[in-house]
């Protein structure tokens, strides 16, 4: 009862109230309030995340599993960053409130946390992001093959749009005289049709479908038809 029925009742009532809130001005602001509570709960949840991260890595170290050294590095990096950030190490006070030692921003320039963010986090994240350029090449080689009609269409449209993004492609197609009947084959024209017409209509249909999927998934959660997120008894 307390394990399953009560949460389901909570879910139904709360969900319906928030749907109604969209239509009732006096309670519209509840949304902002509740979203703020969620951000706070997420911080509480960090205790579990951090606990899990620490336990997993400590286990690897104590069992001397393969790669336990890396587990130690992860833990070290975690605690150094956490202490620098929560302790505001090297953060000068806010310029208007010099008397308050803790008043500076935790990301203030020159602080230890700022240094870690700029020289550890940023290069690692942006390089990871940049590896996408390589994966695009390998995906293009292996996946863009005209096996069937679908794949051929994917391939052809991608090729045309790729050519249109270069400088020389459009320049070459400009050799087609403006007045001739062939002018509709200018690469910029084709690109315009592909991007503004076909891309738009496909995306619209996908989005309409997604909206319906969200509606029905949400309703299933609110009606208690799908309770898998509550787990077993």
């Amino acid at each position: 009862m307390l394990k399953r029925t009560v949460p389901l009742i909570i879910a139904s009532i709360v969900g319906i109230v928030l749907i109604l809130a969209k239509f009732s001005p006096p309670i519209q602001s509840w949304e902002t309030e509740v979203v703020m509570w969620f951000d706070i709960l997420a911080v509480f949840a960090f205790v579990l995340g951090a606990g899990n991260l620490n336990l997993n890595n400590l286990k690897k170290i104590s069992e001397r599993k393969a790669g336990w050294g890396y587990a130690a590095i992860t833990l070290l990096a975690f605690w150094i960053t956490l202490i620098c950030g929560i302790g505001k190490l090297g953060v000068p006070p806010n310029e208007q409130y010099l008397g308050y030692a803790w008043s500076g921003s935790f990301e203030a320039e020159g602080s230890a946390f700022w240094w870690i963010f700029n020289y550890v986090y940023v290069p690692l994240a942006s390089t990871m992001f940049a590896t996408l350029a390589f994966y695009i090449s390998s995906a293009a080689f292996r996946a863009f093959r005209a096996n069937n009609v679908e794949a051929s269409l994917l391939l052809l449209t991608a090729l045309v749009v790729l050519v249109s993004q270069t400088s020389s492609g459009p320049m070459l197609s400009d050799l087609i005289p403006e007045e001739s009947t062939w002018a509709i084959f200018k690469i910029d024209t084709i690109r315009g049709v592909l991007v503004n017409l076909f891309n738009t209509l496909g995306t619209r249909a996908v989005m309409i479908g997604i909206a319906l999927g969200v509606v029905s998934t949400s309703l299933k959660v609110l009606m208690g038809v799908d309770q898998s997120y509550l787990g077993g008894d």
Binding site: E33, F44, G99, Y119, V120, V161, N199, G202, A205, S218
Partner: protein, 291 residues
């Protein structure tokens, strides 16, 4: 295997020699900073903060080289190379970079959550006196916001799962928030994705220009837009088998979706290459001072 190891060692040594030469003779990666003294007349306290200045000003009075930041640039460069090395296969350097990345980014997210949501909202609203005396002196709240006891209670219920018994109570706040967002998303998706998309697709199939002449181009465009969207929607029908006429229409639908995806793929390519260019530029210019 042994021979390749030798080759790698030689390559690394050469790279090391080159880098030391760049570091010494071209001051690769050097960062200069200038001091700024902030003083407060009331409390008589003063602090010196340092901020970066362009290298052209390195000879200005007071400007000096910042060793932590110069070291930082070198470290960034090494991390960049470490991540790229994964493309050629998993290796020790990548594993080290990955471990540091995971540990410090997890802590990073927690620190941001701690200072912005927990201290900045929760504590600042529940204990305004305390927060104004310590980390938020500019805040003008006077009364505690007792509503904040609700997330506190939920947080405790949630963490109760760490206790030996009664851990099921943590399902209550979870059910609460899953339902909250199910309700919110239901309305917002219905509004933005369903209604708005339908509305913007309602177009006249045949269009006449201002002077009454038949506008072939716009007519074709609109008709394709409306009929194409209908074909794609047909593809998503679940309760009708894709055979016969429906089958043919949904076939056209999937073809149109493939064109959509082809365009989507190609449009992203330029931005992705730009990311790589940005990283290469960092290595060559910011770090090695080339060009």
């Amino acid at each position: 295997m042994k021979q390749s190891n030798v080759i790698w060692v030689v390559v690394m040594l050469l790279a090391g020699v080159y880098l030391s030469w760049r570091a010494v003779s071209y001051q690769a990666g050097a960062v200069y900073v200038a001091p700024k003294i902030v003083a407060d007349a009331d409390s008589g306290k003063s602090f010196t903060t340092w901020s970066k200045v362009p290298s052209v000003e390195s000879s200005n009075p007071g400007v000096e080289i910042s060793w932590p930041r110069t070291l930082g640039i070198w470290l960034s460069a090494l991390f960049t190379l470490a991540i790229f090395s994964f493309l050629f296969g998993d290796n020790v350097v990548y594993k080290v970079a990955e471990s540091i990345f995971v540990g410090s980014s997890a802590a990073y997210a927690m620190v941001v959550g701690f200072w912005s949501a927990f201290m900045g909202i929760f504590v600042a609203q529940l204990a305004p006196q305390f927060s104004q005396n310590t980390f938020m002196p500019g805040d003008d709240r006077t009364e505690p916001e007792w509503l904040m006891l609700i997330p506190l209670a939920m947080g405790i219920m949630f963490l109760w799962r760490l206790m030996p018994a009664g851990g099921w109570i943590s399902r209550w706040p979870l059910a609460f928030f899953i339902a909250v967002f199910a309700g919110l998303r239901l309305v917002s998706h219905f509004e933005a994705d369903f209604v708005v998309q339908i509305k913007s697709t309602i177009l006249p199939l045949i269009v006449f220009a201002e002077d009454g002449a038949f506008d072939l181009k716009t007519s074709l465009w609109n008709s394709t837009m409306v009929l194409g969207t209908l074909c794609c929607l047909t593809y998503f029908f679940f309760s009708v088998e894709h055979t016969g006429v429906v089958g043919k229409i949904s076939r056209v639908g999937i073809y149109l979706l493939m064109i959509t995806f082809g365009v989507g793929f190609a449009l992203t390519v330029m931005s992705r290459y730009s990311l790589l260019i940005g990283r290469m530029n960092f290595l060559l210019k910011d770090w090695l001072n080339l060009g």
